[in-house]
Symmetry: C5
Subunit: 171 residues, 5 copies
Amino acid sequence: MRRIGIADTTFARFDMGGAAIDELKAQGTGFKVERYTVPGIKDLPVACLKLLQEGDCDLVIALGMPGAKPIDKQCAHEASTGLIRAQLMTGKHIIEVFVHEDEAEDEGGLAWLMDRRAREHAVNAYDLMFRPERLAKRAGKGLRQGYDDAGEIKAAMSSTSTPSKGGGWKE
Amino acid sequence: MRRIGIADTTFARFDMGGAAIDELKAQGTGFKVERYTVPGIKDLPVACLKLLQEGDCDLVIALGMPGAKPIDKQCAHEASTGLIRAQLMTGKHIIEVFVHEDEAEDEGGLAWLMDRRAREHAVNAYDLMFRPERLAKRAGKGLRQGYDDAGEIKAAMSSTSTPSKGGGWKE
Amino acid sequence: MRRIGIADTTFARFDMGGAAIDELKAQGTGFKVERYTVPGIKDLPVACLKLLQEGDCDLVIALGMPGAKPIDKQCAHEASTGLIRAQLMTGKHIIEVFVHEDEAEDEGGLAWLMDRRAREHAVNAYDLMFRPERLAKRAGKGLRQGYDDAGEIKAAMSSTSTPSKGGGWKE
Amino acid sequence: MRRIGIADTTFARFDMGGAAIDELKAQGTGFKVERYTVPGIKDLPVACLKLLQEGDCDLVIALGMPGAKPIDKQCAHEASTGLIRAQLMTGKHIIEVFVHEDEAEDEGGLAWLMDRRAREHAVNAYDLMFRPERLAKRAGKGLRQGYDDAGEIKAAMSSTSTPSKGGGWKE
Amino acid sequence: MRRIGIADTTFARFDMGGAAIDELKAQGTGFKVERYTVPGIKDLPVACLKLLQEGDCDLVIALGMPGAKPIDKQCAHEASTGLIRAQLMTGKHIIEVFVHEDEAEDEGGLAWLMDRRAREHAVNAYDLMFRPERLAKRAGKGLRQGYDDAGEIKAAMSSTSTPSKGGGWKE
């Protein structure tokens, strides 16, 4: 039985953790969920570490909603840096699901976005654990979580390399 | 007997550590407090590490007041990054309670905010150690420490996932 | 048999991983390729660590396309910092191949740039593993990956040191 | 016999290390000083680590003068981050004494500030090692090193917590 | 026989590594040089680690030329942070010699600056290994590498500390 951790905050204005758990269960079975709620996003790195080490989780989804002020952007940066460090310490994935309060124009749109992104990253987390081939098939497809996918683009000209020219390309 | 560390500074203009200790004692018993005062916020990471390792604390509350100048914001960023690293080194929580000198309009309001935030984060620290279920019940409730809570928001439309469409959502 | 890892994302809008693999195979033989696709660039550091440790790769090429918004630049910074940490943890190279979405004027040019840079860095990766003397010969040559090489420059005046003058140079 | 390390630079325009040593000796006895001079502030983290590990120092004072340009601010940020990491690696304090070249209006004022801050932080270092109770008594007193102290402030209204209201405070 | 590592890039537009080696040899003997060339500055941290660990070097000089665009400044920041981490991992010095492409007004001046700074930092590296007393004698002398030295400054007023006044200074 695999274990998926859910780390979320009381600061966020929507129950992203609940949405992620609901979506995970819609994807399939074969895993248990362990949830850990902390005050804010800067408490998430050690919360995820505890879920991965003490809680023996195989993967954690870390959900939060940074505020709109410059100081909030800095907090998000510090939290993200810590989440990456926690992954490198454990060799396990932590899927960061952050929605910045200024990404939507009103509260209804913000809540919708928090719900959508949490659900779509829950699918990514499930894929990483149970069906990685599904991600491999979508490499470079311009996928997004929340709003529309950006989609794949095509090169304007054919391209062949010229290593003998020093790795530089002359147009 | 659990141990809670209090790390604060001589740079701060209000006794945040004292407010946090006072509030902790109002929450309940079953813990001892160990206090360590350093000059400034950049001295807090190693002070917290000492409290967690040498002082054998289970959790530390780190309190400080970054100044209003750009260089002070940078110091706060460096201190926060170190506090997160110290948590990942020990697997224990450090609740950061920073009040930026420019968060309030006058000295009276600043002191009030420093007192409030220290007290409300002391409650969060107590909850993390003694009643985590209290935090779990408040996941996504938009709680704040100091000023008013932001509160919970509702989605403008119902949401169901479409993993078969590649994790992307078409409006 | 050496092993080269390819870590890429579903967020990118062009198959940079495919281009890198195609170019690697055009350079020579003597290596196996292991590919790992994750959702976004912040998932790359631990993906590369897994390729280097669990996948026993000797080197990894990490490919991604940060978006054009300020928050995307911050994500790229966090990902790059993690990629450097992963290299220092393993003592192995991770060649970062990032193309920022705002580096080109249109989608065709962007796709072309993503393809070119992926291919030219694949050559760099191959050189690091199989022909380091090729890089040594090009030290200080102003090479670029994607657009034109900047080229080498010459000093405007001859230069001799004056260590006896305290390491400072008086014009 | 305790050991205090002094790490300074040839880049700084005033002998901050000399001022710190002079002040330390004015505070009391019972310690030996070990001094290590490096070119610039980015060389200070490993210099301090060497003093703490190879030189067996109990505490180090790191003194430097970042320049006034944006790039210098970035260097100071990198150096400070490294100094905090070195503290967390050793569990020992490194008192950072940086004076930015643009903190004073002229060279005389800058030299005065570099001397003052070095001396007042030397007192902080001495207190951390030999009389921590002196720092504890000054928690939240708004102390500064160099220019005037900011001083303590008082709250505009009395404050009592309302944990039962969810950690949020309603004015 | 001591060992000095030289890590440089193919991105730089001038052979800084060659200048550093030439200058080192002009300083004296008793050391061997090991050179390692990588594509860009973000590849320098692990290259330096390899020189220090696998190459058993006692010290490394890391030379690079960050570009003039904001993204290049960010790359330089990431590289510098990694170089400091590599130093803390090994307890050995890495002398960073970066010349930003926008530090000079034309290509001739840029190449001159790259040559000068590489040479003068090579002297610093030699001093750190073979004559540290030479650096100690220059503490606080305002030395620069490349352009003119800034020089030493004098305090505008005599200064005596007032620790009994709480570490704060009243003008």
